[in-house]
Amino acid sequence: MTRGIGLYVHIPFCASRCPYCDFATAPARTVLRAAYLAALREEIAREGRMLDRPRIRTLYVGGGTPSLLDPSEIESVARSLREAFDLRPREATVEVNPATLDRERLGAWLELGVTRISLGAQSFDARGLRALGRTHQSQDSTTAFMAARDAGLDVNLDLIFGWPGQTVADWQRDLESAIALRPDHVSCYPLELRLDPEASVANWPGGGWPVLERWRQRTAAAQPDDAGVARLYRLAEGVLGRSGYRHYEIANWARPRKRSLHNLGYWRDRDWLGVGAGAHTHLGGVRSANPIELRTYIAYARSGSARSADLESDPRAEAAMLALRLDTGLDLRRYGIRFGDEAASRVRLALTDVSRARLVRWSGDRASLTARGRLLASEVFVRLLP
């Protein structure tokens, strides 16, 4: 592991639940907060021992809302990380909710060695924020952005498009507001509402899944249709492209040399360790994941490894799909060296099938998604499954 691994740390706590979100989340005031952080530190220490104190090449602290951890909590997690790992990351990102970043907390993150924040702005449009059930104001994003810049950090802005009532003009304004801040990196996600119950509901007291489901059904019914969402996506490609952002992954744009190194690790099928509830890991070709439910995670993490392996993982198909998410595409010659000629010709056959529908373009041995292919990526990926 000379090149080092990626490390993902999950902080599930949120001031309020965003009704569209399907990550492992929990209320900031949960009685389990201290127990969770203790379990997380235990997991960090154990994984560090097991992996023989590996070098951490990239660090990503995500959530939830990591930015609402208290400075003392940040410090204790940071201490555990330094003890367990050789922590000299080329890139360290923390996810920030616009309303929760203050000077004191920012200081604690800087102390840990953070180089980059990912700001969950989602929209600069008051109607958009309301439609998404967000509690922050557009102004909060700008403030948090400025604070990060003052601290010398790179910034990613997360934007969501396709909310009920959003017009092409609305989206254009959102994109322009984002660009005006001159972020290094922009992620644009279409609003996708999962309509089956999810495990993190168990972490939240109150209405539970039925309440969430009602919101999602209602919102999904009011979203722009597929053609409308496709139009918004194309608009983002145009606007961001013209402003000097490279569309390097299906949902991600970056200025030169500002691609997310940590996320590139996922797409390039590198090794990474994930700690915390719902975190995913890919080490030595094996994918595994931690439980999403806090109580289960805590119990597992304290009694041994919390991870359960994904036994149905198909490294061949997954590596091909992940590579195709990137604008650099899939190099079939290298793929053949890694997985054998038979696997490579299977993939070639599947991709030839969709290149007729102009979803994939070829440049020598390298296949990459066309603009249309990015919109219909699932059509491509589904053919790569065994």
């Binding site: 996708e192 994941a289 969709v354």
Partner: protein, 557 residues
């Protein structure tokens, strides 16, 4: 050994629920074949025995004794799809007991079977059953029997299967009115096979009526139509449980374990003779199973093809009227074109394949056999629309018609006539059975539709409408694809309806975030499962519902 004059072979024909089973039981009881007290226990016992020995031979003819006579009660299959089988059962008898429910009167099936019996020259004994019921009007039922079947009042018996009233009189009437069998005991053996089924332990069991000659245990038998020979394994009669015997003489009925492996080798209606001394001529009336309705059976998963083949082979062991040939469809891949006696038969086979053999099926729309007259004057039989010759070379297409008699309460005559008209039926005659019931006689088309999975044969008058309905249906059912899909209905080369399924604009862009590749893959796997249930036609994915829609189209146009 009974001499001919002491034998009576008869059956009971009745509409469903008119009390056939109860009356038959009562006959067994009254003749002492099954003592009254023991009836229940004994039948249970014999079922117990069957379970223990794995014997599943079903009684198709039960032998009884009455006033020194040997009475053989022969069972008849119930449904109209099996008219031929009913006719063979009737051919094994000299007489029939026609049962009419005192409270229901004559029903369609009563008539159909009664006509068959009369056609075969059987002596028919009309019996009004369930006379123990309150509020019945025997005069109305008598009137029906007089007007529709021409019986005289003094011929009509009254009985109650429930109380046993009139059963002795009925038995006496059977002896007195039904003629004894005729036949030549010295001639070479000729026995009519009136039923057969497959038994897991004994192979094919044939139920026979000896017409000429005699059959003994250990004889080598020959089946005249299928030209199969075999050493018979067991000879016996039902009394009512199976009892092996040494000899079956002229006029008697019984069963033969033939030692054959498939019922197709032992067809109902075939003549059984001795290999050593074969008869010169078979008995009349044999008809090879003639499928009337055809449909394609395709596995919904291509991998299930061998399972489907296997299941069809097993079904054919016990169903001589099921015929099938391998067939390939551009849309559906490898499958079979199967022929059935009728729609019910098709449904039964389809259900058994799905239920008992767990094979997922796509059945194409049932069609009938068409006769195509070409310009060269040739007549070509077509049971698959995909094989229809170039329309330019066709002079005419003939489709099967049938004569249909419908007995209907007068209050429903209007709607029935409307349905008939929609089926392009021509009314031949209308009369009244009694003041409340009308009898309509029609010449009616047998056909509904279809060719290869998405094509249909339809009458010119309906082509426009069918085409439009079908196209608009398919548009709703075919999911968006990677490109525009144009759906057109055409007659010959002329497009009569056209719609487009616009290309899919986006699918789930799904962020792949926090390294959760597992979930993304699972979503894709689900999508792939969905795709598996679709059939690729060229480069278009067509869901099973689209094929089903075509099947149903006939009902709606």
């Amino acid at each position: 050994m009974a001499d001919l004059a002491r034998i009576r072979n008869f059956c009971v024909i009745a509409h469903v629920d008119h009390g056939k089973t109860t009356l038959s039981d009562r006959l067994l009881e009254t003749t002492g074949t099954v003592p009254l007290r023991e009836m229940r226990e004994q039948l249970l016992d014999s079922m117990e025995l069957e379970r223990e020995h794995g014997i599943t031979i079903k009684a198709r003819a039960v032998r009884m004794a009455w006033r020194d006579q040997e009475l053989n009660l022969i069972d008849t299959p119930g449904h109209v799809d099996f008219t031929y089988e009913v006719s063979r059962s009737l051919a094994a008898c000299e007489g029939a007991v026609l049962l009419v429910d005192a409270s229901q009167g004559i029903e369609a099936q009563t008539l159909a079977n009664a006509y068959l019996a009369v056609e075969q020259g059987l002596e028919v004994i009309p019996v009004i059953n369930k006379i123990d019921l309150p509020n019945i009007d025997l005069d109305v039922v008598r009137e029906e029997l007089r007007t529709t079947l021409g019986f005289r009042d003094d011929e009509i018996l009254l009985a109650s299967g429930k109380t046993g009233a009139g059963v002795q009189e009925l038995l006496d009437a059977i002896v007195e009115r039904i003629p004894a069998p005729t036949g030549d005991p010295d001639a070479p053996l000729r026995a009519l096979i009136f039923d057969s089924h497959y038994d897991a332990y004994k192979g094919v069991v044939a139920h026979i009526r000896v017409v000429d000659g005699a059959l003994a245990a250990g004889d080598r038998i020959r089946l005249m139509a299928t030209e199969r020979e075999s050493d018979l394994l067991e000879l016996g009669v039902f009394v009512p449980d199976a009892r092996p015997i040494e000899r079956l003489a002229t006029g008697e009925t019984g069963y033969v374990a033939t030692g054959l492996k498939a019922v197709a080798d032992c067809r109902v209606g075939d003549t059984l003779t001795l290999a050593a001394r074969p008869a010169a001529k078979p008995l009349p009336g044999y008809r090879p199973a003639k499928p009337m309705v055809f449909a394609g059976f395709y596995p919904s998963n291509a991998e299930d093809y061998p399972a489907l083949k296997d299941a069809l082979e097993k079904l054919r062991l016990n169903d001589a009227s099921l015929v099938y040939d391998p067939e390939t469809s551009q849309a559906l891949g490898f499958g079979f074109r199967a022929g059935f006696l009728g729609l019910l038969h098709l449904e039964i086979v389809q259900e058994r394949l799905e239920r008992e053999y767990d094979v997922g099926l796509i059945a194409t729309s049932p069609s009938v056999e068409y006769r195509v007259i070409t310009q060269k004057g040739a007549e070509v039989a077509i049971d698959n629309p995909a094989l229809l010759p170039d329309p330019g070379t066709i002079v005419e297409i003939r489709e099967p018609w049938m004569k249909v008699t419908i007995i209907v309460p007068t209050t429903h005559v209007g709607p029935v006539m409307e349905v008939a008209q929609n089926k392009r039926a021509a009314l031949l005659d209308m009369s009244y059975v009694d003041p409340t019931r009308a009898m309509l006689k029609y010449e009616m088309l047998v056909a509904g539709s279809l060719v290869d999975a998405l094509s249909i044969i339809t009458h010119r008058d309906r082509a426009q409408l069918s085409g439009r309905v079908l196209v608009s249906k398919l548009r709703g059912l075919i999911p968006k694809q990677m490109f525009d899909v144009r759906i057109q209905a055409a007659i010959g080369g002329k497009v009569i309806a056209s719609e487009t399924v616009k290309a899919k604009r986006k699918d789930v862009l799904a962020k792949c975030y926090g390294g959760d590749i597992t979930r993304k893959r699972k979503l894709l796997e689900k999508q792939k499962e969905g795709k598996k249930r679709m059939k690729m036609v060229g480069s278009v994915e067509i869901p099973q519902e689209a094929f089903l829609a075509v099947l149903r189209i006939g009902d709606e146009t």
